[in-house]
Symmetry: C2
């Protein structure tokens, strides 16, 4: 029976969460040496269970949807929350993709031999316990749970209260997969309360049980996690991606890429927010690109020069250069060549993804060398900023920090390593 | 002129440190694209300057030594603080070794091509700004400054007040090398005050200027840094290294390695603190190993079984299994095979370094798989836990955390990466 108020059972949040942490650590220890075959079998069993239990999951989702509708949330929110058979199928397919990926744990990342005969191997190991804090999308339960299991990590999932019943129902199918393959059921735990205090407990690290926190959601969530977490965080706050069109750019390519980078999906972090146009090619390139953007339904905001060149441009304010619209709006500015583009990007970038359209390789090298964002692209759409598109199979998110994981975070990025050194009696002189 | 009280000039510590951070960030930006040749030339010029300025450095060191003697510190402390021509020569040689190492920045760590023709490269980049907090050894100024420069990072050095004049004098030679090669002088800064408040400011990250903190010193310093830092820390708190002698161990090898692991240098983090003896070979192996240790000047502490087997054993208390002696003392315990060793190590290890002496490969695999310390060794001394011995050329320390850097931290571990993606007009479907 699904109980609408199951979370009210939990009274002492801190105590409950510490126990969640203890169980996760114990599970993580067992997972360290779980075989690749067992993890693959578990992920496949989870996919099967999700499909078999689809009616239970849809029933749970109905409870969440009703509650959300009663509180009068936005249609976009309801769309993120809603599950149907297709979406459950997609979740199950996602699990099968992860099941089929190579197992990262135990892989030898590097090996060499020292002159004294010591053989050194750097071997991939799980990180330990990962905390995932997400909002309304219930499918994160399956995606994040599967990626963490594949990488040998235990995970503590804390979804939004709006998707509480949906996430719990999905989680039950994941646990079925763990049980069928004799993996510890605590490998994938879901926080048993919607009380926001649980998030604070997770950010404190649960007495050292949590090794890394990954927030999945809007800017408000990520900001809170980055500010308050006492453990490492893999995240990006914003994807304020820039597209620079050099004077050496092929015009047709620039038009196609600009429209794709901005408009393919405007709500994702890899969508372009600012177009920087090389002043030296503004006469030939600017208007055709802006027309194409406008024809695709995009609002153009620009500085005075852009307004003069393209009369339908709305004025851009200083705030526009700082804004991740996540909408059909683009800010446009003329710059003096690559150096001008780098100057603008350095000032406003969120170090996520930037692209240059150019045929001049010197310009490309200058752009790549001069900018320290996680992902730099040449003659390609910013919307390729994605673990799947990078060939990582799936990603748990994109990180813009410089430590440990950067860019798309796939299963390999959820691992650490240890050194294994084999000798034949060596002592140190 | 060397001024004993130069630090008293600094009144507003917070403001001064924020400016140090701003200058470091600016320098870090310039260093990102500094050529390998320029960095090599600067390091060589620094080595030359250290030797040319040796009398100034020795004069500065005399001031520190006098002050230390007046306050009546321990002889070991004075030895760490003292400089002479040989030690200055060793520092200069260390800089030349780092100068000759391959430059890590810009190296392509991985590259692959996606089916759509996108060529993806993962390229090594500097981390940015590194804060190094150390105690009395003035040579850390040169070592840490050089390793950070080699890896393209700006560094903020904060040495102990006891070595303030020595460190400043060494730092002046490093700056000479930067000036001679037109690299920004702020690439290597030294905190211009001995006020302890400066450490607190560094731990807060200086308004986001510092990317990582590396403490170099005793447990008290590392503990404070790990507790208070609001930025990532590369460190190990203790090196409580275990040596396990399996029943399959060659006795002569076990004796030689045990003595080396414990006694070669007792004060370093890689020295063994606990010997775990497989109960199945205790009759043959235990006494010869303990006799050899005792003959080398080591005190043996053990549980009842060990005391019964070797009468000169002093009783070990529970506290002994937790103690990093850093002295000529070893704690000894009988365990039931590899599983027993793993059980003990899991409970007491600081995840630094553990070694197994065995000829049975199955035992080795079980030991390597079952333990998640940064460094695991087979048939080799724990004292090999060192960047130089790993072939990294030099190390800034050893890290036991699971994130980013683990084990010896050399120049490669002081870098991050970015993705460079080259296309030919690809848009995302």
């Amino acid at each position: 029976m699904l109980d609408k108020n199951i979370q009210s059972d939990v009274t002492n949040i801190a105590e409950v969460m510490v126990q969640v942490g203890v169980r996760a650590k114990t599970a993580a220890k067992a997972l360290r040496s779980a075989s690749a075959e067992k993890k693959t079998a578990a992920l496949t069993a989870m996919a099967d269970a999700l499909w078999q239990n689809r009616q239970l999951i849809l029933d749970a989702n109905s409870i969440d949807m009703e509650t959300a509708q009663e509180t009068g949330v936005a249609p976009a929110f309801l769309d993120r929350l809603k599950l149907d058979e297709d979406r459950i199928q997609a979740m199950a397919d996602g699990l099968r993709v992860i099941a089929d990926m190579p197992d990262p744990v135990g892989a030898i990342i590097a090996e060499w031999e020292q002159p004294n005969g010591l053989k050194i191997e750097r071997v991939r190991t799980p990180l330990g316990v990962i905390g995932v804090i997400f909002e309304s999308r219930p499918n994160v339960t399956a995606d994040a749970g599967a990626l963490c299991l594949k990488s040998g990590n235990a995970v503590i999932l804390r979804g939004g209260s709006d998707s509480f019943h949906s996430s719990r129902a999905i989680h039950a199918s994941l646990v079925e997969g763990l049980e069928k393959t004799d993996l510890p059921v605590d490998a994938i735990q879901i926080v048993p309360t919607t009380d926001r205090a649980a998030v604070g407990e997770m950010l404190s690290g649960l007495n050292g049980a949590i090794d890394v926190i990954i927030p999945r959601g809007g800017k408000g969530l990520v900001e809170r996690v980055q500010t308050d977490a006492r453990v490492p965080v893999f995240a990006h706050l914003e994807g304020l991606c820039h597209l620079y069109v050099d004077k050496s750019a092929d015009l047709e390519m620039a038009i196609t890429i600009a429209v794709n980078a901005k408009m393919r999906r405007t709500g994702i972090c890899g969508s372009a927010e600012t177009l920087l146009m090389d002043r030296a090619a503004a006469d030939t390139h600017l208007v055709p690109i802006l027309k194409a953007l406008q024809n695709s339904g995009c609002e153009v905001r620009g500085d005075n020069e852009v307004q003069n060149a393209f009369s339908e441009t709305k004025p851009a304010t200083e705030g526009d250069w700082h804004t991740e619209y996540l909408d059909s709006i683009i800010s446009v500015k003329l710059v003096d060549g690559v150096a001008g583009a780098i100057g603008h990007i350095e000032k406003y970038s969120t170090n996520h993804t930037e692209s240059i359209i150019a045929s001049d390789e010197t310009a490309v090298d200058q752009f790549f060398d001069g900018i320290d964002s996680a992902i730099l692209l040449h003659n390609a759409s910013t919307q390729f900023a994605d673990g799947g598109e990078f060939g990582m199979g799936a990603e748990i998110g994109i990180a813009t920090g410089k430590m440990h994981a950067r860019g798309p975070v796939g299963v390999e990025q959820l691992t650490s390593f240890k050194y294994q050194v084999r000798g034949s009696g060596q002592t140190r002189p």
